[in-house]
């Protein structure tokens, strides 16, 4: 063994030498959001059936219930985090040219955050201000 390494602990010698050097939090976040989306997506199916026949005023009334507004906001926010992670993996799997890969990863993140912000803002506007605001 090289002399400069003699006094380093085993942990200090291996730290930072993993394949990607970081990223465990991405793996965990994709799965945690996936678990959260089990109840959220089932609620979404139920909510779509509820909201489909009631028209504009009915939809406003539904979203003025705090439970519905919170569930809808969470659905949009958690979905955006989850789908950003999923699409990131697809891009990393198939696109290997650095410029295209970075461009697509930025586009993916931008589209997801823009969609999430617009969706949550719209839900909150309706929930807090109601009709004709």
């Amino acid at each position: 063994m090289d002399a400069s390494n003699n006094y380093r602990t085993p942990l200090s010698r291996v730290r930072g030498l993993g394949s990607a050097k970081e990223g465990a939090h991405r793996f965990i976040s994709e799965r945690a959001t996936g678990i959260a989306l089990v109840p959220l997506s089932l609620w979404a199916v139920y909510a779509v059936i509820q909201v489909a026949p009631v028209g504009y005023e009915g939809a406003i009334t539904l979203l003025q219930s705090p439970l519905n507004a919170v569930m809808a906001s969470l659905l949009i926010f958690v979905s955006c985090v989850h789908m950003e992670a999923g699409m990131r993996v697809i891009i990393e799997d198939y696109i290997h040219k650095p410029a295209s890969k970075i461009g697509l990863l930025l586009l993916n993140a931008g589209v997801c955050w823009l969609g999430g912000a617009l969706g949550v803002f719209s839900i909150l506007k309706v929930a807090l201000l109601g009709v004709g605001a």
């Binding site: 199916v45 504009y56 969609g115 999430g116 719209s122 506007k125």
Partner: protein, 125 residues
């Protein structure tokens, strides 16, 4: 060039289909979230834009999109749970993996049928 047998070399099998469907339905739901965002934004923008959006969704094409999203939600949900089992090291025996792949597809078909019959029965369609 791929250095190991590529897609064209492998015999088509059910776990391969299950894996491809998981990704494909994920991409479909990526688009689907923007349908939800468009719904919320049109509602926030007022009655005219909301009626326009709901009119689009009630059209033949809109219903097809919603049907596809229903299948995607249920398939991706079941496949996601299957992959959580894989992540914890469970379910890799070929027999089990084949069985759970079929189970995910069957669940998606049955749950979609139940939801659409229910939606029709309560007058949502």
């Amino acid at each position: 060039m791929p250095t190991s047998p590529h897609l064209q070399i492998w015999r088509w099998h059910i776990t391969m289909a299950a894996s491809i469907f998981t990704r494909a339905t994920g991409v479909a739901l990526y688009v689907g979230l923007f349908v939800v965002v468009a719904w919320a934004a049109s509602l926030a923008a007022g009655p005219d834009s909301y009626d326009l959006f709901m009119g689009l969704m009630a059209s033949w094409l809109g219903k097809l999109v919603l049907f596809g999203l229903t299948v995607s939600i249920f398939y991706h949900l079941a496949a996601g749970l299957r992959h959580l089992a894989f992540d914890s090291g469970v379910g890799f025996e070929p027999k089990t993996a084949n069985m759970t792949a079929v189970a995910c597809m069957a669940f998606a078909v049955v749950a979609t049928a139940v939801v659409w019959v229910l939606a029709f029965a309560v007058g949502a369609i």
